[in-house]
Protein backbone atom coordinates (compact mmCIF):
# COMPACT_ATOMS: atom_id res chain seq x y z
CA UNK A 1 0.00 0.00 0.00
CA UNK A 2 2.79 2.40 0.92
CA UNK A 3 4.48 1.56 -2.33
CA UNK A 4 1.41 2.42 -4.37
CA UNK A 5 0.97 5.63 -2.45
CA UNK A 6 4.57 6.49 -3.27
CA UNK A 7 3.96 5.92 -6.96
CA UNK A 8 0.91 8.12 -7.01
CA UNK A 9 2.68 10.73 -4.96
CA UNK A 10 5.66 10.77 -7.29
CA UNK A 11 3.53 11.05 -10.38
CA UNK A 12 1.62 14.07 -9.13
CA UNK A 13 4.41 15.66 -7.14
CA UNK A 14 5.35 18.05 -9.89
CA UNK A 15 1.80 19.27 -9.91
CA UNK A 16 1.76 19.79 -6.17
CA UNK A 17 5.06 21.63 -6.00
CA UNK A 18 4.82 23.73 -9.12
CA UNK A 19 2.27 24.48 -11.78
CA UNK A 20 1.56 21.18 -13.50
CA UNK A 21 3.55 21.09 -16.74
CA UNK A 22 1.14 21.21 -19.63
CA UNK A 23 3.67 20.43 -22.35
CA UNK A 24 6.82 18.38 -22.72
CA UNK A 25 8.85 21.57 -22.83
CA UNK A 26 7.35 22.78 -19.55
CA UNK A 27 8.15 19.35 -18.09
CA UNK A 28 11.80 19.64 -19.17
CA UNK A 29 12.06 22.98 -17.43
CA UNK A 30 10.24 21.83 -14.28
CA UNK A 31 12.17 18.62 -13.61
CA UNK A 32 15.55 20.06 -12.55
CA UNK A 33 13.96 22.01 -9.70
CA UNK A 34 11.38 19.48 -8.57
CA UNK A 35 11.56 16.91 -5.78
CA UNK A 36 12.00 13.19 -6.56
CA UNK A 37 12.98 13.84 -10.15
CA UNK A 38 16.17 13.43 -12.12
CA UNK A 39 17.78 14.08 -15.45
CA UNK A 40 19.94 11.47 -17.10
CA UNK A 41 22.33 11.77 -20.02
CA UNK A 42 24.18 9.12 -21.98
CA UNK A 43 25.42 8.42 -25.47
CA UNK A 44 24.64 5.49 -27.73
CA UNK A 45 26.42 4.18 -30.81
CA UNK A 46 23.49 4.56 -33.18
CA UNK A 47 22.32 7.35 -35.39
CA UNK A 48 19.44 9.54 -34.27
CA UNK A 49 17.28 8.39 -37.19
CA UNK A 50 17.64 4.78 -36.10
CA UNK A 51 16.83 5.70 -32.50
CA UNK A 52 13.78 7.63 -33.69
CA UNK A 53 12.63 4.73 -35.84
CA UNK A 54 12.84 2.40 -32.83
CA UNK A 55 10.90 4.86 -30.69
CA UNK A 56 8.22 5.04 -33.39
CA UNK A 57 8.00 1.28 -33.59
CA UNK A 58 8.19 0.28 -29.96
CA UNK A 59 6.63 3.13 -27.99
CA UNK A 60 3.05 2.66 -29.25
CA UNK A 61 3.20 -1.08 -28.84
CA UNK A 62 4.76 -1.05 -25.40
CA UNK A 63 3.41 2.07 -23.75
CA UNK A 64 -0.09 2.56 -25.07
CA UNK A 65 -1.54 0.50 -22.25
CA UNK A 66 -3.73 0.64 -19.19
CA UNK A 67 -2.89 -0.91 -15.84
CA UNK A 68 -5.21 -1.55 -12.95
CA UNK A 69 -3.69 -1.73 -9.49
CA UNK A 70 -5.72 -3.03 -6.60
CA UNK A 71 -4.43 -3.12 -3.05
CA UNK A 72 -6.25 -4.17 0.05
CA UNK A 73 -5.55 -4.38 3.73
CA UNK A 74 -7.83 -5.16 6.63
CA UNK A 75 -8.65 -1.45 6.88
CA UNK A 76 -8.38 -0.03 3.37
CA UNK A 77 -9.00 -0.72 -0.27
CA UNK A 78 -7.47 1.05 -3.23
CA UNK A 79 -8.29 0.63 -6.91
CA UNK A 80 -6.34 2.71 -9.40
CA UNK A 81 -6.79 2.59 -13.16
CA UNK A 82 -3.82 4.13 -14.92
CA UNK A 83 -3.52 4.83 -18.62
CA UNK A 84 -0.20 5.50 -20.34
CA UNK A 85 0.20 7.43 -23.55
CA UNK A 86 3.42 7.63 -25.58
CA UNK A 87 4.11 10.35 -28.13
CA UNK A 88 7.05 10.40 -30.53
CA UNK A 89 8.04 13.65 -32.21
CA UNK A 90 10.85 13.58 -34.74
CA UNK A 91 12.47 16.76 -36.00
CA UNK A 92 15.72 17.67 -37.68
CA UNK A 93 17.45 18.55 -34.43
CA UNK A 94 16.16 15.87 -32.12
CA UNK A 95 13.77 12.97 -31.66
CA UNK A 96 11.51 13.09 -28.62
CA UNK A 97 9.65 10.43 -26.70
CA UNK A 98 7.05 11.69 -24.24
CA UNK A 99 5.34 9.33 -21.82
CA UNK A 100 2.18 10.51 -20.11
CA UNK A 101 0.30 8.87 -17.27
CA UNK A 102 -3.32 9.42 -16.39
CA UNK A 103 -4.89 7.93 -13.28
CA UNK A 104 -8.50 7.52 -14.37
CA UNK A 105 -9.66 6.35 -10.96
CA UNK A 106 -8.31 6.42 -7.44
CA UNK A 107 -6.31 9.63 -7.64
CA UNK A 108 -7.32 13.24 -7.14
CA UNK A 109 -5.20 15.75 -9.05
CA UNK A 110 -4.39 19.03 -7.35
CA UNK A 111 -4.77 20.84 -10.68
CA UNK A 112 -5.98 19.97 -14.13
CA UNK A 113 -3.58 17.54 -15.83
CA UNK A 114 -2.71 18.10 -19.48
CA UNK A 115 -4.55 16.28 -22.23
CA UNK A 116 -3.33 12.67 -22.18
CA UNK A 117 -2.15 12.82 -18.58
CA UNK A 118 0.76 14.12 -16.58
CA UNK A 119 4.17 13.87 -18.17
CA UNK A 120 6.26 11.25 -16.39
CA UNK A 121 9.23 10.82 -18.71
CA UNK A 122 10.57 12.84 -21.62
CA UNK A 123 13.47 11.34 -23.56
CA UNK A 124 15.27 13.42 -26.17
CA UNK A 125 17.70 12.02 -28.72
CA UNK A 126 20.23 14.47 -30.22
CA UNK A 127 22.47 13.57 -33.16
CA UNK A 128 26.22 13.48 -32.59
CA UNK A 129 29.06 13.15 -35.07
CA UNK A 130 30.12 9.64 -35.99
CA UNK A 131 26.64 8.14 -36.15
CA UNK A 132 26.16 8.51 -32.41
CA UNK A 133 23.29 9.93 -30.37
CA UNK A 134 23.13 11.72 -27.06
CA UNK A 135 20.14 10.80 -24.93
CA UNK A 136 18.74 13.28 -22.42
CA UNK A 137 16.00 12.03 -20.11
CA UNK A 138 13.78 13.82 -17.61
CA UNK A 139 11.55 12.06 -15.12
CA UNK A 140 11.05 10.60 -11.64
CA UNK A 141 14.10 9.56 -9.64
CA UNK A 142 12.50 6.42 -8.23
CA UNK A 143 10.01 3.77 -9.26
CA UNK A 144 10.35 3.94 -13.03
CA UNK A 145 13.63 2.07 -13.52
CA UNK A 146 12.14 -0.43 -15.95
CA UNK A 147 10.90 2.39 -18.17
CA UNK A 148 14.33 4.03 -18.22
CA UNK A 149 15.91 0.63 -18.99
CA UNK A 150 13.48 -0.01 -21.83
CA UNK A 151 14.17 3.40 -23.36
CA UNK A 152 17.90 2.73 -23.12
CA UNK A 153 17.39 -0.64 -24.83
CA UNK A 154 15.46 1.04 -27.65
CA UNK A 155 18.09 3.75 -27.98
CA UNK A 156 21.01 1.32 -28.16
CA UNK A 157 19.00 -1.19 -30.18
CA UNK A 158 20.24 -3.93 -27.85
CA UNK A 159 16.86 -4.74 -26.30
CA UNK A 160 13.54 -3.98 -27.95
CA UNK A 161 11.48 -5.36 -25.09
CA UNK A 162 8.66 -3.56 -23.32
CA UNK A 163 8.75 -2.34 -19.72
CA UNK A 164 6.45 -4.17 -17.33
CA UNK A 165 4.42 -1.17 -16.26
CA UNK A 166 2.73 -3.17 -13.51
CA UNK A 167 6.05 -2.98 -11.67
CA UNK A 168 6.11 0.78 -11.45
CA UNK A 169 6.87 1.87 -7.95
Amino acid sequence: MLRIHAVVLASVLLAACVQMPQTAEEFRKAVPGAMMTKTETYEVSRGMKDVAATFRRRAPECLNIAVRTVSQTSTSYQNILTEYKPTVVVGAERAELHVQQHHKTGVIYPSKPPEGGTYIVVADAYPLPGNRTRMQLYGPSKGYDMLYRAIRGWATGDNLGCPDMTKIG
Binding site: R68, Q72, R149, C162, T166, K167
Partner: protein
Protein backbone atom coordinates in the same frame (compact mmCIF):
# COMPACT_ATOMS: atom_id res chain seq x y z
CA UNK B 1 0.67 -4.11 3.49
CA UNK B 2 -0.79 -6.62 1.15
CA UNK B 3 -1.23 -5.90 -2.49
CA UNK B 4 -3.54 -8.57 -3.76
CA UNK B 5 -3.59 -7.77 -7.42
CA UNK B 6 -1.86 -5.63 -9.95
CA UNK B 7 -2.76 -6.54 -13.45
CA UNK B 8 -2.87 -5.30 -16.98
CA UNK B 9 -6.25 -4.52 -18.48
CA UNK B 10 -5.50 -6.68 -21.41
CA UNK B 11 -6.75 -9.59 -19.38
CA UNK B 12 -9.71 -11.01 -21.17
CA UNK B 13 -12.96 -11.47 -19.38
CA UNK B 14 -14.23 -14.93 -18.93
CA UNK B 15 -10.99 -16.81 -18.48
CA UNK B 16 -11.09 -17.13 -14.75
CA UNK B 17 -11.04 -20.91 -14.76
CA UNK B 18 -7.62 -22.16 -15.80
CA UNK B 19 -7.53 -25.32 -17.85
CA UNK B 20 -4.77 -27.07 -19.71
CA UNK B 21 -4.76 -26.49 -23.45
CA UNK B 22 -5.54 -29.80 -25.16
CA UNK B 23 -2.48 -31.67 -26.40
CA UNK B 24 -4.46 -32.95 -29.36
CA UNK B 25 -6.07 -29.67 -30.37
CA UNK B 26 -4.20 -29.69 -33.67
CA UNK B 27 -0.90 -30.85 -35.19
CA UNK B 28 1.97 -29.05 -33.48
CA UNK B 29 2.67 -25.95 -35.52
CA UNK B 30 3.78 -23.43 -32.90
CA UNK B 31 7.01 -23.64 -30.92
CA UNK B 32 7.23 -21.29 -27.98
CA UNK B 33 10.79 -20.61 -26.83
CA UNK B 34 10.82 -19.01 -23.41
CA UNK B 35 13.55 -17.37 -21.39
CA UNK B 36 11.91 -15.84 -18.33
CA UNK B 37 13.39 -15.06 -14.96
CA UNK B 38 11.52 -13.98 -11.86
CA UNK B 39 8.07 -14.65 -13.29
CA UNK B 40 5.76 -17.51 -14.14
CA UNK B 41 5.12 -17.46 -17.87
CA UNK B 42 1.98 -18.93 -19.38
CA UNK B 43 0.22 -18.84 -22.71
CA UNK B 44 -3.56 -18.56 -22.82
CA UNK B 45 -5.01 -19.64 -26.14
CA UNK B 46 -8.36 -18.40 -27.41
CA UNK B 47 -10.12 -19.33 -30.60
CA UNK B 48 -11.50 -16.38 -32.59
CA UNK B 49 -14.71 -16.66 -34.58
CA UNK B 50 -16.08 -14.55 -37.43
CA UNK B 51 -17.76 -12.20 -34.96
CA UNK B 52 -14.42 -11.63 -33.22
CA UNK B 53 -15.55 -13.50 -30.16
CA UNK B 54 -12.59 -15.13 -28.48
CA UNK B 55 -13.57 -17.92 -26.13
CA UNK B 56 -10.80 -19.25 -23.93
CA UNK B 57 -9.61 -22.70 -24.95
CA UNK B 58 -6.82 -23.43 -22.53
CA UNK B 59 -3.46 -22.55 -21.04
CA UNK B 60 0.04 -23.80 -21.75
CA UNK B 61 2.64 -23.42 -19.01
CA UNK B 62 5.83 -21.98 -20.44
CA UNK B 63 8.07 -23.64 -17.89
CA UNK B 64 10.44 -25.26 -20.37
CA UNK B 65 12.88 -23.66 -22.80
CA UNK B 66 10.73 -24.85 -25.70
CA UNK B 67 7.13 -26.02 -25.82
CA UNK B 68 5.33 -27.26 -28.94
CA UNK B 69 1.66 -26.36 -29.31
CA UNK B 70 -0.95 -27.23 -31.92
CA UNK B 71 -3.05 -24.29 -33.11
CA UNK B 72 -5.83 -25.06 -35.58
CA UNK B 73 -4.66 -23.96 -39.03
CA UNK B 74 -6.44 -21.68 -41.46
CA UNK B 75 -8.08 -19.57 -38.81
CA UNK B 76 -7.57 -16.87 -36.26
CA UNK B 77 -6.49 -17.42 -32.70
CA UNK B 78 -5.74 -15.05 -29.87
CA UNK B 79 -2.58 -15.79 -27.92
CA UNK B 80 -2.11 -14.13 -24.55
CA UNK B 81 1.29 -14.41 -22.93
CA UNK B 82 1.10 -13.87 -19.17
CA UNK B 83 3.98 -12.98 -16.88
CA UNK B 84 3.02 -13.33 -13.23
CA UNK B 85 4.99 -12.79 -10.08
CA UNK B 86 4.27 -12.43 -6.41
CA UNK B 87 6.13 -11.67 -3.24
CA UNK B 88 5.20 -10.67 0.28
CA UNK B 89 6.60 -7.17 -0.03
CA UNK B 90 5.65 -6.36 -3.61
CA UNK B 91 2.34 -8.19 -3.82
CA UNK B 92 1.09 -9.91 -6.96
CA UNK B 93 1.60 -8.64 -10.48
CA UNK B 94 0.54 -9.88 -13.86
CA UNK B 95 1.55 -8.38 -17.16
CA UNK B 96 0.01 -9.73 -20.33
CA UNK B 97 0.81 -9.36 -23.98
CA UNK B 98 -1.82 -10.56 -26.40
CA UNK B 99 -1.89 -10.91 -30.14
CA UNK B 100 -4.15 -12.20 -32.83
CA UNK B 101 -2.51 -14.84 -34.97
CA UNK B 102 -3.75 -16.18 -38.27
CA UNK B 103 -2.31 -19.63 -38.75
CA UNK B 104 -2.00 -21.02 -42.23
CA UNK B 105 -1.88 -24.66 -43.24
CA UNK B 106 1.59 -25.91 -43.98
CA UNK B 107 3.23 -23.05 -42.14
CA UNK B 108 4.93 -23.30 -38.78
CA UNK B 109 5.26 -20.59 -36.16
CA UNK B 110 7.97 -19.74 -33.71
CA UNK B 111 7.32 -17.52 -30.69
CA UNK B 112 10.28 -16.11 -28.79
CA UNK B 113 9.21 -15.02 -25.32
CA UNK B 114 11.54 -13.26 -22.92
CA UNK B 115 11.19 -11.63 -19.51
CA UNK B 116 14.17 -10.30 -17.62
CA UNK B 117 14.64 -7.39 -15.23
CA UNK B 118 11.02 -6.26 -15.69
CA UNK B 119 11.43 -6.07 -19.47
CA UNK B 120 9.42 -8.47 -21.61
CA UNK B 121 9.27 -9.24 -25.30
CA UNK B 122 7.24 -11.44 -27.60
CA UNK B 123 8.33 -12.02 -31.19
CA UNK B 124 6.43 -14.38 -33.50
CA UNK B 125 7.79 -15.60 -36.81
CA UNK B 126 5.98 -17.48 -39.54
CA UNK B 127 7.87 -20.09 -41.52
CA UNK B 128 6.41 -21.09 -44.87
CA UNK B 129 7.03 -24.62 -46.22
CA UNK B 130 9.77 -23.09 -48.38
CA UNK B 131 11.56 -19.82 -48.07
CA UNK B 132 12.53 -17.56 -45.27
CA UNK B 133 10.67 -16.92 -42.04
CA UNK B 134 9.07 -13.53 -41.49
CA UNK B 135 8.19 -11.71 -38.34
CA UNK B 136 4.45 -11.47 -37.75
CA UNK B 137 3.17 -8.12 -36.48
CA UNK B 138 1.44 -8.35 -33.12
CA UNK B 139 -2.23 -7.34 -33.35
CA UNK B 140 -4.45 -6.61 -30.40
CA UNK B 141 -7.89 -8.13 -30.18
CA UNK B 142 -9.57 -4.84 -31.04
CA UNK B 143 -8.01 -4.92 -34.50
CA UNK B 144 -10.15 -7.97 -35.25
CA UNK B 145 -13.13 -5.65 -35.70
CA UNK B 146 -11.37 -3.60 -38.38
Amino acid sequence: MKAVLAGALVLLAGCGGLKTYPEDAAPKNLTVRTAASGVRAELDIHSVDAQCRAPYVGTVKLNKPAVAVGIPADGWSYLKFDFASSSFLRGSHQMSKGTLLRTRAGHSYDAEVTYKDDIYNVVIREKPPRGAAREVPLLDLASCQK
